[in-house]
Subunit: 144 residues, 2 copies
């Protein structure tokens, strides 16, 4: 009475290549991000702030799928670097407002070529990239 464990084989997993791919791609960012003194997670935070200028921690966490245990220390580091400020919302003292500084805004110019560099090393066709994008967001939309 032999059981079938095929579903537990590494090559039959969908999550594993997802996990590995995310790590490998993120790793490719690091040498580029080192030049502007950011980690990948710090970079996506700055991306949000380049668009919005200002956002509270809760909303930021919802956008990036990160909780306060990750964001609080990370934001303090960005504050030390001078890229953001953290101030309590005067209307609701529970909330902390993150604002980008001029130094943070200036960083965007230096980051400008990073997406293209990463695109090169990922090397998908335009069609594949669009398909991947759609499927990933389908998962993200359903999962929460």
């Amino acid at each position: 009475m032999k059981e079938n464990y095929d579903s537990l084989k590494l090559q039959n997993q969908l999550c594993f290549p997802l996990y590995a791919c995310a790590k490998e791609v993120t790793k490719r960012y690091q040498p580029l991000l080192n030049e502007i003194d950011l980690t990948y997670t710090q970079y996506i935070v700055m991306m949000v702030l380049w668009e919005q200028k200002q956002i509270n921690v809760k909303h930021l966490g919802e956008m990036l799928f990160l909780d306060s245990g990750t964001l609080t220390p990370l934001l303090k580091k960005l504050e030390v670097k001078g890229y953001i400020t953290r101030t309590r919302n005067e209307q609701d003292e529970r909330s902390v407002i993150i604002s980008v500084t001029q130094k943070g805004i200036d960083l965007r110019k230096k980051a400008k070529d990073i997406p293209e560099e990463i695109g090169k090393c990922v090397n998908l066709t335009q069609e594949e990239a669009v398909t991947l994008y759609k499927i990933l967001y389908k998962i993200l939309d359903k999962i929460n």
Copy 2:
């Protein structure tokens, strides 16, 4: 002379949904894996050992895209739990051979239903799943 920073918008990134999706899906494993006292990374290590019974750290790292800085402490924890043993290769003392114990083998029965449970919460069509799988492995194959 306004510069165009569209490529730095969060919604134009391919890496971000990849990063977020990997995290969110992995998070869904945790309640299931808690019942058999494994983390996700420990789980994929056990997956390899359920197939191979024995493998050295270097080869394991290549399969899982993990380095010794991650694997060494993780494997020591699996050893403490009694799921694996770590022994030096007598032919080459630099190499450490990881072997699954009977207790480790028995764990597979308890893990059997996990892939299906995860499949439910990801909720892709069979075709989407296959497409995603292929694109992810295309990236992984090229990137290293």
